[in-house]
């Protein structure tokens, strides 16, 4: 595991924390606004979760 990969991992965790915890700030808007009756927060969490998994997958692919 080289330093570059380690840095990528820490950056990913940091960005992930921001993505996952940011709804706490704008939750009123995300609950009020809906897309086909589904609150935006539900769609937001699905999107962020899948994106995060995709980035972990990309890092795992670069591992020797």
């Amino acid at each position: 595991m080289n330093d570059k990969t380690n840095s990528k991992i820490y950056i990913l965790i940091f960005l992930g924390a921001i993505l996952f915890f940011s709804p706490l700030v704008n939750i009123d808007v995300l609950i009020k606004e809906k897309c086909y009756s589904i609150p935006l927060i539900y769609l937001y969490i699905i999107f962020c979760w899948l994106a995060y998994i995709f980035f972990i997958y990309r890092i795992s692919e670069t591992q020797a």
């Binding site: 992930g16 915890f21 939750i27 589904i38 979760w49 998994i53 972990i56 890092i59 795992s60």
Partner: protein, 889 residues
Amino acid sequence: MSQLYIILIGFGYLLLLLLFAFLFRKYKTISNSKYAYALSLCVYCTGWTFYGSIGKAAESGFGYLGVYLGPTLAAPLMFIVLSKTIKISKFLRISSLADFISSRYGKDAVLGKIVTLLCVMVAIPYISIQLKALNISYLVLRDYPISNNISYHTGIFNDPALYFGICCALISSILGIVKAAPTDGHRGVVSVIALESIFKLLSFLIGALTIIFIINNGLTDIFHKFETSGLGKPNFDLTLLKASGNQWFFIALISACAFYLLPRQFHMSVVENSDVKHVRFASWMVPLYFFLISIFVIPIALSGILKFGNAVLPDSFLLNILLLEGFNLIAIIVFTGGVAACTGMIISSLISLSIMLSNQIVLPLLLKMKSTVVKELEVQVLQYRRLMIFVVLLLSFLFYKFYAVNYSLVSIGLISFVGISQLMPAFLLGLYWKHANSTGVKSGLIVGIVIWAYTLPVSNLIEMGVLTSSLLEDGLFGLSFLKPHELFGIQSMDPISLSTFTSLTANILTTCIISLVSSTKPLEFSQADIFLQPDKYIDQNQSSLMQIEADFKKLLNILSSILGEDKLKKLLEKYKMKYGIKTFDDYADTQLINYMQNYLSGSLGSAATNVLLDNIVKLKPVQPDQLYKIVGQTNELFQYAQALEQKRDELKLMSEQLSDANNKLLYLDNLKNEFISNITHELRTPVTSIRSLAESLDEFEIAPEEQAKILSIIKSESERMANLINQVLDLRKLELVDSIQMETFSVRKLIISVIESQKSLLGNRGLLLPDRDIYLNSDSSKLHQVLINIISNAIKFTDSETGKIEIYLSKIKEGVFIEIKDNGQGIPVDEVPLVFDRFFQASNISKTHHKGTGLGLSISRDILQLLNGSLTLESEISRGSTFTIFINT
């Protein structure tokens, strides 16, 4: 639904599982695969996930998600932390979390016991909620249609959870306690847990998709119905999440800790790992699993609220909805999935706890109580572990019947998570901070556990009426800052967040401070180095820095009584083969002892191994040649570092000097360009004038008087050019310092000779020469040139009739002053500092005809500086000028 039918399904499933496990044990490619490894880590999703998450979502919307987001966020750390942990554990044959922590901190037996007891304290409530979930799901199936006042309390022997628990204990004994060394891997357990993970996910998805797409018309339909029902505000107010934002954060934090440190998680991820490369696959597969199993929780919870309101326990919504709508077969599949989720957790927890309890507490205690070594200990250890499995199960069942039955699955689960998080400082600091020692870690753990116990389990006992409520209202000893739910005066946090924050902060601070102020044993240093840099030791196949020795015969005696004669022989042969050794000496060396210690630790744990070998293994004094080698290497490294540092400083200095020189060169280059530009300009003016006058003489007929006038101008301009060229040559000479010729001469005579040379220009100007003489040791020819420049200037800028030039000589201790004063037109005061600049012409000079080259004074100043002297000027318009030459003696 028939009681017999349900029991047959549940137990039939467990029997089938056992059969599959035996089958998979033969196909190692499946159980050793990355898929089996990744799925075995999903044992994290238990009955709590299956039922409890829906209950939590029904109460607080997305509040349940923190439990899955925490491990998801921390999943990339698997590449760094988990891989390192696996490498160390495989190298040192570590068999449990307690063994890992105890081994890192100098194989401290007391620390191992503290960790074991904490794990038991945490795991027993956790197992108990699985038993509770099993009972709830069984009762829902049996007693449907349910009534509002259904009782989940059943008699001990009527409770199916007891029998499910016994089945789990049997499976754990059969599959998990096969080899004394858990590090050798229990392929059957991995297969069972992996299979259960697949089944629980599939059954959950089948149930969830049936509710969303068959019972309802998709996600939009559920959300729309919920929005228009008016039930949302009290039951599903998402803004609750905002109010409990800190809870979400702390739940994510403790869940991430639990994912790595719960005994069963450590067992499946580290002890049962067959290849460290499998971590790569698990790092993204496990979060994907969490996503799939938790993303439909919200729609199920909403659907449950719509159908039942508060009429049934929210934890049982999944089963109740399916039964209400007549999907009995799917309800049975979901029930079996729930059994899989609960039993998977119970089996893995029982195995990991039994190993910890037997290795850290039972065996060391037994070995200390008996003076002789227990015969065939490796065989007996399996029996102790099986016994521990049933002890833990019994304790969990009692806890469930007398305590957990009153609380929701989630609340008990979170209390366990906060408890297990107390191990995180010891675990992480052990991997990354060499100064962490056993005294610090033990102190930190005790402080953290006390705060956790005081803020969560104790307050629950108060709520149950076991302890007096005054503790909750008034605080310990009546001190308000010691109120369990407002500890240290913090009122804005819920109990889980408060407990997490205060206990972990106190734990980390205590560990760090005590580690820094307390002494560290040599063995701790040695172990710390292995844990911090495992690759170094794995590459060299060296498991300790410490040099130890033991009497070979005594070592063999102990080993043969533990392992048996045959096994010991095989082990010694294996050792000989590995290290290419033919015979053994009277004393067993460090390598052999470490090899045997590692082998025994894998079976009995480091604590029991230490007790066994403590009496015969001695620290070997460091030999002078070893010491010399270590010191030599250190000294060499130190010198190398010093040389590098010195080289760096030299390079830095050289770089600065080069930079200065470069700046100077650039400055000189600019000066040169400016100088050439000025010179060419100065030369062009007279040349142009001479050429145009010469052309006039050639082309026009000019009167003789006029011709004479023109020739006079040509002559004057030519002289000016010659002067300029001479002065440029003087400047060039000035650069040659070697041309200075020192001699002693009379300054008065020198002044007189200068006046003589300028006599033709003096006209009727008054002249006052110095009346005294001074002898000076300097370069007379250069001083002569300076005096010519200054005196000729004085002549040039004074009136030929009324002009007056006075020259004074004086001497002080430091040198000689020559003062040349005139009553000429003078120059403006603000231009005085500029007159020594090359090519400077005073503003009032341009109005006269006495325009010079602008180099004379500049050359004079430079000459005097060369002679270690100076030239200054005082002047004022219409009042004349005074030049003062000072030459240092």
